[in-house]
């Protein structure tokens, strides 16, 4: 690489790198959203069950 006159063509590696960066951050944000939504559903079920048990 030291004797070359132009920069090496490494664009494809750059694209892989940024895809991994944006993809990993995006997946983590998505996991936060999905986990939060699932917990909301759980909480809704639990609060629905509780008054029914009180009535019985």
């Amino acid at each position: 690489m030291l004797l070359q006159s132009a920069p090496a063509d490494t664009t494809s590696y750059m694209l892989i790198g940024f895809t991994l960066i944006f993809g990993t951050i995006g997946l983590y944000v998505l996991s936060l959203y999905v986990r939060s939504r699932n917990l909301e559903k759980d909480l809704a079920v639990l609060t629905e069950v509780e008054p029914r048990r009180d009535r019985d």
Binding site: M1, P7, M14, G17, I21
Partner: protein, 233 residues
Amino acid sequence: MSATPRGLKILTWVTIALFALASYAVLIYAPREAVMGDVQRVFYFHVAAGWVGALAFLVAVVAAVVYLITKNRQWDTVGLSSIEIGVVFTLINIVTGSVWARPIWNTWWTWDPRLVTATVMELVYIAYLMLRQGIDDPDRRARFGAVYAIIGFLSVPLTFLSIRIFRTIHPVVIGSNDPGAEGTFDMTAKMLQAFLFSLFTFTFIYATLLWHRIRLQRQAERVELEKARLLAD
């Protein structure tokens, strides 16, 4: 879940805007490196992700110490949330390093001290997340987590110093121009601006994610509490 606080909404939008600007800075504003070409642009987010990993583990160790002193479980929540984010960003750091290494070192992986210590650090904190799952009692889990976070933190300075202590081909960006390093380069003013802005932006990303993750953990604890109450009735 309670409504998202106004401060968190603002922080989230500011972080998204900063991330867009940082992406512009590293992909367009910063010049192409003369020898390595475009792959060098990965460097900005590669280092920033490593910085977030170290910061997250540092916050976790502070939270662990405060938890052991106060026994307030909110600090355990902070520690767990911070470590989870640290694991994600350390993974980004390791994987992007591998992608950068392929055209520059001609290999995806080499048993270099920096690569090894960073991977060991990542595995130490993945083990933390896995081992926590095996403890049912919340107080025991929090105590274990705090002690583990303190001991596990030894891997962080070791990773940081590995390229300064051991013989390595990994470049030292700040404070060295080791002729043995492969992939080292001099930063132009625009490169330095993009680099510092990336560090600044990733710090914002960490703070935003930490706030969201802490809220998620509180939500999970509320569900657990409701379940326990139902079972006790």
